[in-house]
């Protein structure tokens, strides 16, 4: 993805977060977002990433990082132990999106999720007109080598949140880095960002995860 577009969405995330918050960034990669947040918002941050190279990058920048697999959930993280749990451009690569969303709103008092919107009209048109899996600047992979195994549209995501009882506190719809009105989002946003909260704060979802709800 384009760096300037990453920066744009990071700025949007940053303005959702009050100074001095405790932040957990899931799939933090090189720690760019955490670095921005600690510089501009003095957050106390921690990143999680599965890739040793990314962990090394974070350590070198002095960013606290945990090398782990998000598909194992956040079982060992305390309920409501972070003010914000962020999942930036990572939802589409996890194996268990339901598990991770439930865990995010448990561990965080708030959650922030942003992802590329598969409902973006030019993507739909590629499939419709060319009859091929879409390849775009923000989703530049061929179907056979993409890490993106759980792509969804903005509408899909909203439906899932409803099913999971997750409340949407704020939404940001971006078309190539520029804000557009929410009603245009599903068809015209290249990327969407949501501020979320669990249905009842502090509630533990661990049980429902263990019993493997039909959604997981």
């Amino acid at each position: 993805m384009h760096t300037n577009l990453s920066e744009r969405v990071f700025q949007e995330i940053a303005q959702l977060i009050p100074s001095g918050s405790r932040v957990l960034d899931l799939g933090c990669a090189e720690g760019d977002l955490l670095e921005l947040l600690s510089r501009t918002k003095q957050v106390k941050g921690m990143g999680v990433d599965i890739d040793e190279k990314m962990v090394l990058h974070c350590v070198a920048r002095g960013i606290s990082v945990f090398q782990g697999n998000l598909d194992e959930g956040l079982r060992d993280y305390q309920t409501a132990s972070y003010d914000y749990v962020i999942l930036s451009r990572t939802l589409q690569v996890v194996h268990k999106p339901v598990l991770i969303l439930k865990e995010m709103v448990r561990v965080g008092k708030h959650a922030i999720v942003n992802f590329p919107n598969f409902g973006y009209l030019p993507i739909r048109l590629q499939l419709l007109l060319k009859g091929q899996m879409p390849v775009t600047p923000s989703l530049p992979f061929q179907w056979y080598d993409t890490p993106n195994i759980h792509l969804c549209t903005k509408k899909d995501f909203l439906n899932l949140c409803k099913v999971l009882g997750i409340r949407i506190l704020q939404e940001i719809n971006l078309w190539n880095g520029k804000r557009i009105p929410p009603f245009l989002g599903n068809a015209w946003a290249t990327e969407v960002c949501f501020l979320l909260q669990g249905s009842s704060e502090g509630q533990s979802y661990v049980e429902s995860i263990d019993s493997r709800s039909s959604l997981s």
Binding site: K44, M46, E52, V55, L56, C58, V59, A60, R61, G62, S64, V65, F66, Q67, G68, D76, Y77, Q78, S81
Partner: protein, 385 residues
Amino acid sequence: MATRTTLEGSVGIVTPKEYTFGSAADPLELESGRTIYPVTVRYETYGTLNREKSNAVLILHAFSGDAHVAGYKTEQDRYPGWWDPMVGPGKPFDTNKYFVICSNVLGGCQGTTGPSSVNPLTGKPYGLSFPLITIGDMVKVQRYLIDHLGIQRLLTVVGGSMGGMQALEWAIAYPERVRSAIVIAATPRLTAQGIAFNAVGRNAITSDPNWNGGDYYGKAIPSRGLAIARMIGHITYLSEQSMHDKFGRRLQNREQYAFDFNDQFAVESYLEYQGDKFVERFDANSYIYISRAMDYFNLDEKYGSLEAAFRKTKAKFLIVSFTSDWLYPPKQSKEMVFALMKEGKDVSYAELDCPYGHDSFLIETERQGKLFSSFLENLYAHESF
């Protein structure tokens, strides 16, 4: 040919130093309540302590290690110190930047006071009259040394396995004196399985007739018992994968089975060799005392809980485990990471995918090196004393 002193990246020939402290009036007080004096610490240093004394790195060795981390003992020395790829000019613990210290542990047999040392009160080796010691006692002795060197705060304490236990104990017991702790392939407590392996090792030693209740100095030593103890230990340091890769089912000197007891598998021969080599440099009683110290190690028990143990720490932690380490598996490292997180401490965790089992911390120096050097560089750059 390059001499030892001019080898690139090497600290060259190293001369160990000794520091002795403690007297009848002011002995070393042990966790058990017993006291001992005098105590001699054998240590080596590499690099130069800066004027602010802010660049000191304390390396803590594992069970069978010693103070000789890097470089060579003599011009003829064939092998360098036990972590030579990590310590030297331009290496991860860069001796051009940092002042690196390593000492032999209390209870050891490589120059620091232990059961094989002569008790000045009796003129004879301590043997089993040496008091039982703990990891905390080892750390206390190191603190005396650091006091002696005039260092108020260590930039980092770093160690693998039993060295990791010491690094933890340092950060917990002396929070003001540790800027950071690198804890590798360690555990917050020795498990029943760990104690069991140690117990078998001790049994091998004490069953050797030459052991003689620990009184064998100047006589035939319990070399067979000690060799077997080492063989058992060595199995726990490797992984199934690494043993398979290294030896498979190969026979040592034959192509086919002869179905007699001279059939020897390569892995057997390797263990024999490791055992015999160990006997040349290690004392059987030290094995017993140090393995006991590890058995006692249990942070939950000592401090009430793991969280309570970490509550007063001020260090930045880097905790590292290895996927193939079944002796102190990643799960045990993660437990410490989450306890630290729960207490709001600054902690990072790396789980290196590495096939060499527990010994990975000695073998996989390249990836660890990158991790540690970047961790330290960042820390040192932001250092404010």
